[in-house]
């Protein structure tokens, strides 16, 4: 669990680094590319977690992201929780192959962008028309993250392999003290 949480935290930090390198603009209609490694890691790791644990971790990361990165109140938390609930239902119907994992993450990124746009429009924070959003926000973000998705899926598989090896090592070291086994009779 700690390894998974650290992986998610490192992915969010990588988002900040990549975001600093990308060109950014404050003009509302200009093109904006948003790296989404953190959310991708969250979605990939939650498949191996207990349902309640994954929900709680999602809420915590959402609150931290809201407060320190996005400077909004509960917007990103709500988006992350909705995605968590959707993915927990969807993952019952998919396997863990590389292609399906990439598709899952890619779809998640689009849903997240759309949800943020929808909430911001409801809150009257933006009056951006839908076609402008598609061109200036969604399209290039998906294109850019399409490359990063492969990297994050590969990294998550490495984490899962490390965890599996740890479990095997623990299992190997387990012994039964036969002399302590007592019968109930």
């Amino acid at each position: 669990m700690i390894l998974q949480v650290l992986f998610i935290a490192a992915s969010f930090l990588a988002d900040e680094v990549i975001g600093g390198l990308l060109p950014h603009s404050f003009m509302p209609g200009d093109i904006v590319i948003t790296p989404c490694l953190g959310l991708s890691a969250l979605v990939l790791m939650q498949r191996k977690m207990d349902r309640i644990d994954s929900l709680l971790i999602t809420v915590i990361f959402g609150l931290l992201y809201d407060y320190f990165a996005a400077h909004t109140f509960l917007v990103c938390t709500i988006v992350f929780v909705i995605i968590n609930l959707a993915v927990s239902q969807w993952q019952k119907h998919i396997t863990e192959s590389m292609l399906e994992s990439c598709m899952l993450v890619f779809t998640t990124i689009f849903v997240k962008e759309f949800l943020v746009y929808f909430i911001m429009t409801l809150l009257s924070e933006t009056l951006m028309p839908f076609d402008m959003w598609l061109v200036s926000r969604a399209f290039l973000t998906l294109l850019f993250n399409g490359v990063l998705v492969v990297i994050i899926v590969w990294a998550s598989r490495m984490i899962e392999d490390v965890m599996l090896m740890r479990e095997k090592k623990i299992r190997k070291e387990e012994t039964i003290s036969w002399w302590k086994i007592s019968s109930k009779r």
Binding site: M1, L13, E16, V17, G19, G20, L21, P23, H24, S25, F26, M27, P28, G29, D30, V32, T34, I52, D53, L56, I57, V59, I60, L63, L64, D66, Y67, F68, A69, A70, H71, T72, F73, L74, V75, C76, V116, Y117, M120, S124, E125, T126, L127, M128, P129, M132
Partner: protein, 275 residues
């Protein structure tokens, strides 16, 4: 038997603490927020953003090196005139103070410019807000005007001890109204207010208080100082287009922003200093 494990109870407690903290500090500065928020934002800026910016600036500077000498020569010539201009400004300031005294005005609050650097920005959410590295300790207060090298960019909406939040004029939540004046001639101005930013035209929408036909393209638009919030004379932009309103009397003026909102790193804050 409890439904939640020990770890889950710990996570729930952490969520409760974060929620209470976020609720209590949402939208306003406070001592607690200054203790927690300022150091973390500064730390993130120092460890992540500043090294990346330095690397980017190094490559940009190397590319610009060849143009520097030519620009240097031109600037030397302009600098030679600065002494003369300083003397003229001092003289005008003195005359202005004398005239104000004669008119019997109360001594107006003065403004000082505090330079700042942007340390946090997130265009992912659409609120068009940035964080700068000056705060209450630098005499920054709520609603202070924030300018870039070219013109007005926004106002202070939240003040902590060492950081402040700026809402840009390009935000579309109609909370960035500014009283402006259009300079129709050397001696005449037309007053209005900057309502919001129009996405499609890429310009500010200015509504006038009076119906006048003196407005022309390329006239300067500055802050009027009405209301005492912003100082007067800060450049906002230039007139781009004038449109007649369809269902009512009057005109809408579209103003091209003077400031370049595509990118800036350094800003200045006009802080009020009571004499």
């Amino acid at each position: 038997m409890s439904r939640f494990t020990r770890l889950q109870k710990l996570l729930l407690a952490l969520i409760a603490v974060l929620l209470v903290f976020a609720l209590s500090t949402n939208g306003k500065g406070s001592a607690i927020k200054s203790i927690v928020y300022d150091p973390l934002v500064m730390l993130k800026y120092s460890i992540l953003d500043y090294p990346i910016e330095t690397l980017q600036n190094f490559f940009n500077d190397f590319n610009d090196l060849w143009q520097v000498k030519q620009e240097n020569d031109a600037l030397r010539q302009q600098l030679a005139q600065s002494d003369q201009l300083s003397a003229m400004i001092e003289n005008l300031q003195r005359e202005n103070a004398e005239l104000k005294e004669l008119l019997g005005n109360d001594v107006a609050a003065h403004y000082e410019k505090v330079n700042a650097r942007i340390i946090s920005r997130n265009p992912e959410v659409y609120n068009n807000q940035i964080t700068i590295n000056v705060g209450a300790a630098d005499h920054v207060a709520l609603d202070n005007a924030v300018v870039s090298a070219y013109g007005l960019i926004g106002k202070i909406t939240e003040v902590n001890e060492h950081t402040s939040r700026v809402r840009l004029l390009t935000s579309q939540d109609q909370l960035s109204m500014v009283s402006v004046q259009i300079h129709v001639s050397d001696t005449e101005v037309v007053n209005g207010y900057l309502e919001q930013y129009d996405l499609e035209k890429g310009a500010f929408i200015v509504r006038l208080y009076t119906n006048t036909d003196q407005i022309r393209i390329d006239q300067n638009v500055t802050t009027s100082g009405a209301g005492g919030v912003f100082p007067s004379g800060i450049l906002v932009g230039t007139v781009m287009e004038i449109e007649e309103m369809r269902n009512e009397n009057g005109r809408i003026v579209y103003v091209t922003p003077a400031a370049d909102f595509s990118s800036f790193e350094y800003v200045s804050v006009y802080c009020e200093v009571q004499p």
